[in-house]
Symmetry: C2
């Protein structure tokens, strides 16, 4: 996969090695190593001496060598479906905040919602011997599962409650969220529903959310017309289109659940353009709360997921495992919240 990037004498930072620092400081390399990793075990004067040489020559330790020797890197790998999506940004920030506090570094890639690409990435990441792996996905290829299981690297799956986690999970239940939204809408008295989401494909999270929604409706004795179920692309524009399509198919529809991305906001914009009143003429609910949902006119009823917290807990589980390898596989359900607003 990696194409060759030239084979000339490669660039390298280390003009100065630990050995050289040691020589200049008149100590052994081991003492320099200690001065860096366990300064309290070095005599103050020696420490001072070493540190001054380090500063003088601008020595930057080589973690590649260090990692090989100690058999431990400071890299945590993260694979998300998409980097563009603001959705994942919150989680990434949570992960990053925790890792940074612990001197760990985040390696990140996107699978483009493709399981085969995820598999390739997992393999490439394992080659870097990361000290942890976080996957925003709970469905993997068989090969990927095997690699993960065999690797013995702490691994957190997130984005959905995984029934059979490879190792650890931190998430919320998309199915329950969908159900809860159905219950909310039913409780408001709506009877005729429409549903749109991003393309589901391999996306277990969306599938669950949708199925949960249908389940909730069924529980209330309501069936949704298959013609009123849509998959569309990303972006506000798609939300507008989804709205147009659904209302075109059944003008008497009373409530739409537009699950994912900012589809619901796009629908509200479309309503405004058409002069439709929300929720009097039609109710609209979304998922993934953010300040746009809150600021829209009317503000949009959504399901809120604790995305930042999920990032934080995912990273914390990795860090915890590093500190204590006997920690058992954990599965955390961080829940969700239906936020009722003016749009329903």
């Amino acid at each position: 996969m990696p194409d060759s990037l030239g084979t000339k004498p490669p660039p390298f930072v280390g003009q100065v090695s630990m050995k050289e620092v040691a020589r200049l400081a008149g100590v052994s390399p081991m003492t320099v190593s200690r001065a860096l990793s366990t300064p309290h075990l070095v005599k103050p004067e020696t420490l001072e001496q070493v540190q001054s040489v380090i500063r003088a020559v601008g020595y930057v330790p080589n973690r590649v060598a260090g990692s090989l020797s100690s058999r431990r890197t400071s890299l945590v790998g993260l694979i998300v479906p998409s980097l563009r999506n603001a959705l994942y940004a919150e989680t990434i920030q949570g992960i990053s905040d925790v890792l940074q506090r612990h001197g760990l570094h985040l390696m990140i890639s996107d699978s483009g919602y493709c399981l085969e690409r995820e598999e390739a990435l997992i393999s490439a990441y394992l080659a870097q011997r990361p000290c942890g792996l976080i996957l925003h996905n709970t469905v993997h290829t068989e090969a990927a599962r095997q690699m993960l299981q065999g690797a013995g690297v702490p691994c957190v799956e997130t984005g959905n409650l995984a029934p059979h986690p490879v190792d650890m999970t931190v998430s919320y239940s998309n199915r329950a969220a969908g159900r809860a939204m159905a219950e909310h809408l039913v409780s408001r008295g709506y009877q005729r529903f429409g549903f749109a989401s991003l393309r589901i494909g391999d996306n277990e999270r969306l599938r669950e959310r949708r199925d949960g929604f249908f389940e909730g409706l069924r529980a209330a004795g309501i069936a949704i017309d298959p013609a009123m179920v849509l998959e569309v692309g990303e972006g506000l524009e798609s939300g507008s289109q989804a709205f147009a399509e659904l209302i075109g198919r059944d003008a008497s529809v009373q409530a739409l659940f537009l699950a994912g991305d900012v589809l619901a906001a796009g629908a509200i914009f479309e309503c405004a353009r058409r002069g439709l009143r929300v929720p009097q003429d039609i109710a609209i609910a979304g998922s993934d709360d953010n300040d746009l949902m809150q600021q829209m006119i009317p503000p949009i009823t959504t399901v809120r997921f604790p995305r930042y917290r999920i990032g934080v807990r995912s990273a914390e589980l990795i860090v915890g495992r590093l500190g204590d390898e006997t920690l058992q596989p954990a599965s955390e359900d961080l829940g969700f919240e239906v936020v009722p607003r003016g749009s329903t």
Copy 2:
């Protein structure tokens, strides 16, 4: 900085080493190495033999060892001011897309808009011996500059046209963008202006955009009242507040340039709530185009920056340098575009 994460016998993926694979395949480790990196240099039958052992035992090469030996990693470091911000997401995606194509991996952190934290991150990243570094920032501490210069690692600065790049730059001119927006608004006939941005602090990009705006107004013989210049927090809500504050200070203001984040959209929402007509009662312009700006009612005039392209070109410059170390420092201006819409 890294706090100790336990010192027990560390976890490791490599149940199987190259040596072991070699033994099982009845060849030397070097042949296994070649089978992996330069398969065309290995006799087909030997290759087949080695590959089948690799599959059988699930061997995952250890890139840490490989990197140490070859003195070359496949890691590119990226430091952005914030991971949350959708702004950077586009650029990150561009970088990631290119790196992935070349078998490189992205290490990412956020500096939280803090130069000292950026410095610490640069140092930590250099310790990983990355094959490239991308900084979404052009102003650094003196120590950071020195490290970067001494490191000899390909480095791209972005986010603003750097007058004195450490190595390479890929960007657009925030100053020119500010000026262009001033010219646009002046050309529409507005005379009394207000300006709000996120907190500027060490953020050279925002400072330049603001100064460019003032410069453009001055060039048209227009002065902006210092009381009509504001700094606010992030988010739509802040945009609403900025609007409220500015209009409160001078009800006769005709046009607002809300530079940064989604401030302009927040202002438009506030107008809607107050029943003000845009642009008849007041014109509003923003920066950083995205589909929200486009979908708002009215759609918002903005400056559009080629954020995805910037990511792509940044990564390409790194990759290019890896392939040919004699490539000279490049500085690319990818420009920007004022997108006139209904809000002005």
